[in-house]
Symmetry: C2
Subunit: 716 residues, 2 copies
């Protein structure tokens, strides 16, 4: 970010509208109208040489002709005329511009060049530019509707709900979606600070607006809609700033399905896809991922109206057995727990509900007890109980005539809430009910899947701990020198040598380059043995018959060695032969895959996956930004589906999670320390033995980039 603050951008004292028109059916005609309709109180200067005034406001032939300070120019003119208009703005000392016009990089060809010129102008003149191809922004606090979005149209007689003073700020790389989230959030009763559409980001980026909202006092919750982050370093700093302030961030990252199409050379990279880095960044900074618009808005509403949860134990309170049971299923499906209540708590609830109700959890107070205030009594008892971390009230709020809940009492309960209290209506709620609950400080959720995700988000956020800074080690000279000497994909043997030099414990192994060396190797290693061909030209050893396992005696060893070399000569006469690697067969254990890859934007990522086919078949894989420390590694392991396998599954003893976590930390630190050189590491499989017995790195791949290559240094 070149500029310290975007306050003036979002709350300008004077706005010029370049291309203003009296025709409100056109985009450029709607800007003036929407600004005024939404109560903009600063100065407005339409700019269009064709009109002396528009809608009673004096119109200027150019920005230069205004002769007064202008903070923001909204530009809605044909693409070809945008650059001169920006020059005028810069000359007139305008601080910021939003280019609404389309037809730049999104069109490709020569128009991309035009966009580059805009970027160059911004750099040269200091004029900060949002867009092009942007939908503008809306500052709902300062009443600046600098957009043509229909979402800011003022609807006569519309009743505006604000369930909470905690405002939501939105940064969106799609104006349509950004304002749609505003539209949906408003309907739910959320208050917003600013919604910003960033368009093609010739100059100002989503990350910069994110950074602004992270420190903006008016914004309590941040919603990001991302297609691609252009400036990872700025994004990471913004995420860290939001995390530091305890400001919840909900992140939508689209383009996930396209990831599968990306061809990638090796297994780890192909699993990573484009989104692994985002998953890693989101996890590191506690950004909550939302998978559809209802989820995004429901999670925002939960953060705006409720505290985070201190654990996963949810109680459901309902007046409909069926709806309560369904809610329980969906909550459990989202990973939450619904413990049966203690006899004491059940007794306390049974005291005020009919005999045909249930106090077990779901707590079915029955329709009758709703009329006598049972809903709030139950919610209050549960909120006050140490058995429960959060409460979901499941009711029908469809009636436009009756409101069975005492709103004053609910308001008091909400005001002192220390645990999440969310309301879900299984019928579509009436405006009467929405208004009443908003007065009490609550929104009414209507999407059961989404409210379950929102509840899960409150739990995850409650358990989120910012990672401690990890001390960078000194960067040992010998290993750096060794890494600098090589390049490309190394043989397994070379990879193991280098990783061992970096301090990563490798199992015993010997490279044998002629049959005469076999005996000495056996003397050192013993039987049973694995035999593996070593050649920089053979990344997939099994495909040339280059792996033999479980060799039990000398005869088999000699035979295997001869056969393997013969097979190689037959299949790949061109391949350079380094030798044959001998390695003792590893004792049994749980197989995992460890790896690091280098994201072009976010730098090195640490990856852990379930071993064998499970990583790919079940997508059982977790990513983090490297480095991670041992605690972070342990948390990563805990997120795998196979965590239960590591902890001792179906009577099996637990494996050496400590050794595995230490290895993960070590490997991630190696990748982070030498991020300019280490392109990719894959340890596959790593066999984790029973507790105390460590792990065995069975195979290792290491790919070294040319020094200074790509953009591995970006994060430093």
């Amino acid at each position: 970010m070149r500029d310290g603050s975007l306050d003036r951008f979002l709350a300008p004292a004077a706005i010029a509208i370049i291309g203003a028109s009296p025709d409100s059916a056109r985009i450029r005609g709607r800007l003036l109208h929407l600004l005024r309709e939404n109560g903009y109180s600063g100065k407005l200067y339409p700019v269009n040489p064709s009109y002396p005034e528009i809608a009673g406001v004096p119109c200027f032939p150019s920005v230069g002709a205004i002769g007064q300070p202008v903070d923001l120019a909204l530009i809605a003119i044909p693409a070809e005329t945008v650059l001169p208009a920006l020059e005028d703005c810069a000359a007139a000392g305008v601080g910021h511009a939003v280019i609404i016009s389309s037809g730049f990089a999104e069109q490709g060809g020569a128009q991309t060049g035009l966009q580059h010129e805009i970027a160059a102008l911004a750099r040269r003149t200091g004029l900060r530019v949002c867009g092009p191809n942007a939908e503008g922004f809306h500052n709902d606090v300062a009443h600046v509707a600098a957009t043509f979005s229909p979402a800011v149209e003022v609807k006569p007689g519309e009743q505006r709900l604000e369930a909470s003073p905690r405002r939501v700020g939105v940064v969106a790389q799609s104006g349509g979606m950004g304002f749609a989230l505003y539209n949906r959030g408003r309907a739910l009763g959320l208050a917003f600070s600013s919604i910003v559409s960033t368009g093609n980001e010739a100059d100002l980026t989503a990350s910069e607006f994110f950074a602004h909202l992270a420190q903006d006092r008016a914004t309590s919750v941040i919603l990001l809609f991302l297609e691609s982050v252009r400036d990872p370093a700025v994004f990471l700093a913004a995420a860290a700033a939001a995390a530091e302030r305890g400001k919840p961030v909900i992140g939508v990252k689209i383009g996930r399905s396209a990831a599968g199409e990306r061809a990638a050379r090796s297994h780890t990279a192909s699993m990573a896809g484009w989104n692994a880095a985002y998953d890693a960044v989101f996890a590191e900074h506690g950004i909550i991922r939302a998978d559809d618009p209802d989820e995004a808005v429901a999670i925002a509403a939960a953060f705006a109206t409720a505290p985070t949860a201190q654990g996963p134990r949810v109680a459901v309170v309902t007046a409909s057995g069926g709806a309560g049971a369904w809610a329980a299923d969906v909550l459990a499906g989202a990973g939450l727990m619904l413990p049966e209540l203690s006899p004491e708590l059940q007794q306390a609830i049974q005291a005020f509900i009919p005999a045909y109700g249930s106090a077990r959890n779901p707590v079915d107070i029955t329709a009758q007890a709703v009329l006598t205030g049972g809903l709030l009594r139950a919610a209050e008892l549960l909120s006050d109980s140490a058995e429960i971390d959060a409460v979901l009230v499941v009711v029908s709020l469809a009636s436009e005539k009756r409101m069975a809940i005492d709103i004053a009492a609910l308001k008091a309960l909400v005001a002192r809430q220390a645990k999440p209290l969310l309301f879900y209506s299984y019928t579509l709620p009436s405006s009467l009910a929405k208004k009443a609950l908003a007065e009490a400080g609550l929104t009414i959720h209507t999407d059961l899947g989404a409210v379950a995700q929102a509840m899960a988000a409150l739990v995850r956020r409650g358990g989120y701990a910012r990672p401690r800074p990890i001390a960078r080690s000194s960067g040992r000279a010998p290993i750096r020198a060794a890494l600098e000497r090589v390049g490309g994909a190394l043989s397994e043997y070379d990879a193991k040598q280098l990783l061992a030099e970096a301090g990563i414990a490798m199992p015993p192994h010997r490279l044998v380059t002629d049959a005469a060396g076999l005996d000495a190797a056996v003397e050192e290693l013993g039987f049973p043995l694995a035999l593996k061909i070593q050649s920089p030209d053979i990344p997939h050893k099994t495909e040339v018959g280059g792996v033999r396992l479980g060799i039990a005696d000398t005869a088999a060893l000699r035979q295997g060695y001869r056969d393997m070399l013969a097979e190689l000569r037959r299949r790949r006469p061109d391949a350079r032969l380094q030798g044959v690697l001998l390695q003792p067969m590893a004792p049994p254990g749980v197989e995992v895959i460890l790896g690091t890859i280098r994201d072009p934007g976010f730098g090195p990522l640490m990856m852990i996956g379930a071993g064998g086919v499970m990583t790919e078949l079940f997508r059982d894989v977790v990513y983090r930004l490297a480095p991670v420390d041992v605690d972070g590694a342990r948390r990563m392991l805990g997120e795998l589906h196979i965590a239960r396998l590591l902890e001792g599954f179906r009577g099996a003893p637990p494996v050496d999670i400590e050794a595995l976590a230490a290895l993960v930390a070590q490997l991630s630190q190696f990748a982070a320390e030498h991020r300019d050189l280490v392109q990719e590491v894959e340890l596959n499989p790593v066999i984790v033995h029973r507790a105390g017995a460590g792990c065995t790195i069975v195979d290792a791949l290491l790919t070294i980039a040319r020094a200074g290559g790509e953009d591995g240094n970006r994060r430093r």
Copy 2:
């Protein structure tokens, strides 16, 4: 079903309201009001000795006093007075009753007895009873609002949308949820036939109403909300009838999270839980499962307005790049394909969209092309193309002022649609837009996750084939006799003998009862061998050191045999020893688990799961009603996550799917044929070798019930 038809129940010519009251704040006071308000045209007889008339309608002291034929009695009086009232009804020749009153089996204790008396009365008198604890029903075709649900309240000035003449019928074991689905469906623009709340089902069951809707001409789509099916045979017949008529059924089965709490003796049974049978039944009859209310309604709307899809290839047409990309991600997440369009099709679309749009898929026609009719032109081109099976239009329909789509043209397109065409609005749609699209024959979806599930449902339904009837084999006398001789859990050896007798190919094995028998066994089987202890008292052999694998020579065999017996004597001196089973080590392959379990209601189920830990860790398991034929078995295998593993994963050769499918069919037929005897079978693991090489049943469990035990015969 004792009665052939429920027509008269759902469309009565005369209704008595027992417990009618002028106080419309009370449930029993609302019945008369809601019936009249919704335009009931038959005769209404309030029954209450306290009033001469209610709201201008003459009131009777008892049903007997009416002196006119009554088709239906609605009963809303205290639980204790219900039984005499029913006696009166029966005496007066009333055909049907709905008991609205609560306080019966749901309360437990003595009240359960009261409910049993109601059931007995129904059986004795022929009076068919719905409830107790029911919310009544609403027949929206015949205008019979026989319920107190607020969902049928008539809202003055409310505009009622009917996007399609295909009506949805609802049967719900929770009145709250049944009417909530009606409430939500109405808001979307769906038309309904009847919504029935079945309450405690003392007499009439959800299955009976399901059977009614399956043959009801007014009902085109059926929505079921189920807690527990009381009469599996009736349910299965209804499902088969609906499938035969090609009537889509959407099934919600709640209580899934409670399944985990059920303790079960063996692995297969514990995986099955309560819901395996429902999953199997749903799969067999093409019932589409819905996981939350939005999904249920969205899927119903899709079936009501669109044909099924002939394949999974979906095109997204949008005016917002961001919203379109998000939709593509969510559709892909639901298992659908979004192929890039052919150059020809892209060119045809590019002809009418701006250069900054995209025709690849998602097709982003841009906001500008919406104004020139591009949305429909693109939708039409895609619908007519052989490249695409379904189209999702993603637009913003929030405006109350403008409707950018030519509704007449859309109506024509919908009228001739041969492929699904669904509309999703990323902003909340205006009533203007809802009305306009309903006129064209469409609903506007607002939940992206739900519309993706709806699209997937249209695809699944398009590919659904009713299973062919499977010829029952003759029930070979020798194996039946053998099964009848045993009982309880058999040893592996006994299980294998019996299964082999039933025609299931077992790998070579020998039972050895003293050390002297080892040599003969080796002569027959060769090395390497597995050694397994055999005792009816030891279901988990590994826990007593009772399994040794990979025994390679005679010395190891003798040692292993001795050690195993010593270990058994030490750990379980009480266990009856049958001997030690010797079996050659199986060649490598893909491991799976096969099993059958007997659901108390639905009878024997066939189960296939991924081998080893994957079944449980990743819930990679599929169930069907037994028997299945080879085609059905192949489809089951195709539904496993590990299907890719069977088909040859990452360069591995495909395995013998044909042999596996044949084994599945054989095992399922064994379980079905002897459903009264075979309680459970578990073949775990089964190793499937490369194509042509068959599979090896490594271990087998077989549990036999006492003849005639439980209710295994129910389905016959």
